[in-house]
Symmetry: C2
Subunit: 416 residues, 2 copies
């Protein structure tokens, strides 16, 4: 099968390419390297040094013996998207090329608009280009569990049986997202659902939980490492807790720390995307998978990070700064996730073991974390403190450029 | 009360301004005149001749003795939106400045993207500017009944009680729109709901049915007429049926004609918007009104138009071309609409009487309809006929410019 991965230079896109190549699939990628630039915009970089893309391709050739096709360009240019699809005629497309940070989308009005406009435009361009060039292809679109919010009922996989005023229907599960970014994923889901309905495209919408991990079995060499973000904007809470432990900062779960989310290991996320690809839906079908293995509270993550840190001779403290987000700090959380299990998905990784791997790698790259200590604390506020805007659009947020390469996929600073 | 109307030059915005002024409110408007340009883009114009905006303002001054403030500009420019709010400090904002045509959004990829990007950007700019300049103001946002689609259960007003797997919650009613335009309104609803949650803004989301009618009591002179679109892109089915009758074309309900939608008279739509404005929600509240009086099938509209046409000495036939849209042609339809009634809203107009008014006016402007006979039939397809795109993005849709004024609010061609 020939798979096009949009956002192939990213945290998930890169290990997915390696995983699919090693399973005998053909892979071609699209990226505009905007995540590299935007991580620099907030003054950070990846804990793992990420080589320029041509060196990533060369490493794939040398270590896996595979050719990895690539088109540099932007999903917001329709002619680019259509041109790639016309030339490549992929059997499947995994769409990961989106602005993926909730805090980034909350910085100010311009970051909010950029997030929603870019994500929505890229997805619309993709479905129109599929209609023109490869209407039989299978679109695997990355959504997020965060589209659903935290309702007081179980969360269905996309659709559920409704009984209202004595009548019944099977309807989309209500969405209630918690950031402009998460809303952009809700919007994408609506547009893709509609495209399958009117044009008969086939799509899988993956409501992904938070991914953890730094390695997959295909990452056999440092040259094949994927990026690992740990700053407040681009890193997950778990990543930040481990990075904080490594550099001797307190671990900082926001607020009460009882917010629960669904989690999945990077390696198992790759497994589930492959299973989705190898079991496509029928024409006109819009299928939703809730993709996660277990739900953890932020406190559980903090305590586990604290415990594993001690195994490595570290001794971080745990502090609870006020929650900068507007979210329920205590809530019911029980999303269903049967669809992938029915296709043969099985969890292979355990959070604690993966956390040890992450500690092991981050300690190797400790110098890269030390140089970016200042980006691990929350500054982006969801609220309006003292009823005044924090980030006035007339005085854009200070940008602290990191050292490192020029624009594009140039290496993110010197290796550790 | 000082009310800012975005999209004041449009079909609803203009009579709303007259209605509020005549009730003693202060009104200021925003518009970029894009609807005038886009109606020309599809080769049409308003059946009623619409003077340039300064002449509309002068007529208001002369006939109502009122000053009507105005700022020309585009909601996609944040500095413009913030500047107007900072200067005007309105008590309430009625947001109508959106691309409002479903067929226009379905023309091709570029019209789809423009519709969603412009609508979403304008709404985000508005809520951010409110946060900065007038966080106490009340936002009345125009949604559409079309956000809900046609589920097999009653349609709640925004939220409903859910019981799922033995637990209960009060959640957003599922949305399932039928065009890129209708999806853009779903997206706006999500963003506004989120803004009320995180910043404590107050908002009313009006899920509006199809509006019919050409006059309100305040339109006492032809210089105060609102626009009336009748082409396949910008006109409603009802408007098109009346225009077809007047020029001797067959009335053309699409498909089986049993598609049902909710309807409200222009005058009663103005009444309900005023009631919403005069009864604002509390800070942080996101309130949804389903705003319509009665549901009619397309066949009922066609038959009523046919009957009223005969009273005017016209004798149109009824034909059923294939439905160009992807929609259920037979379905359950029972939206609830209690919230406005609870605030004192009462229906004052009857469809048949309003239809006579429309016939009366359109017969006066028959020459303007005759000159645009060719735009009354469906050409925009939701589907892909013979699995080929109809409107290839590489060969943009032919644009037939109408005679008439230059760019901006210049008069739409000579009066009849």
């Amino acid at each position: 099968m020939k798979v096009l991965i949009t956002g192939i230079d990213g945290y998930s896109g890169w290990p997915l390419a390696l995983h699919l190549l090693s399973r005998g699939h053909d892979v071609v990628g699209i990226d505009n390297f905007v995540t590299r630039r935007r991580v620099r915009e907030v003054g950070s970089w990846s804990a793992t040094p990420i080589p320029p893309f041509p060196r990533r391709q060369a490493a794939v050739k040398e270590l896996l013996g595979k050719d990895l096709g690539f088109h540099r360009g932007d999903m917001t240019r329709y002619e680019f998207v259509r041109g790639v699809l016309e030339r490549e005629k992929p059997d499947a497309i995994v769409h990961l090329a989106e602005q993926r940070s909730a805090p980034y989308s909350m910085i100010d009005v311009h970051h909010a608009v950029a997030t929603q406009v870019e994500n929505l435009t890229g997805t619309l361009h993709l479905v129109y280009a599929m209609r023109e060039c490869c209407p039989e292809a299978h679109l695997v679109k990355m959504g997020t569990m965060g589209e659903y919010g935290t309702p007081n009922v179980d969360i269905a996989e996309g659709f559920f049986d409704v009984e209202f005023n004595g009548r019944k229907d099977h309807l989309p599960f209500p969405r209630s997202a918690g950031s402009w970014y998460h809303w952009s994923k809700v919007f994408d889901s609506g547009d893709v659902m509609f495209a399958t309905k009117i044009w008969g495209l086939k799509a899988t919408d993956v409501m992904q939980g938070v991914i953890y991990g730094i390695r997959t079995p295909e990452i056999t060499d440092d040259r094949l490492l994927t990026r690992f973000d740990f700053d407040e904007t681009w890193g997950t809470a778990l990543n930040r807790f481990i990075a904080q432990s490594v550099v001797g900062l307190p671990i900082t779960p926001y607020g009460k720390g009882e917010q629960k989310r669904g989690f999945i290991a990077l390696e198992d996320s790759m497994q589930s995307l492959r299973i989705a690809l190898e079991n496509p839906p029928r024409a006109g079908e819009y299928r939703v998978f809730n993709q996660f293995d277990a739900a953890y509270s932020v406190n559980e993550l903090a305590e586990l990070a604290h415990r594993v840190a001690r195994e490595f001779g570290l001794n971080p403290t745990i502090e609870h700064p006020p929650d900068p987000r507007v979210e329920a700090e205590q809530h019911y959380y029980n999303p269903l996730h049967d669809n992938l299990l029915a296709l043969g998905y099985r969890r292979t990784r355990d959070l604690e073991a993966v956390m040890r791997e992450i500690f092991h790698d981050l300690i190797r790259y400790r110098r890269r974390l030390e140089a970016r200590r200042h980006v691990m604390q929350a500054t982006v506020q969801w609220r309006v403190p003292d009823s005044r805007p924090i980030l006035d659009a007339r005085h854009p947020r200070e940008v602290r450029p990191a050292p490192g390469g020029p624009r594009g996929s140039a290496s993110e600073g010197p290796p550790a």
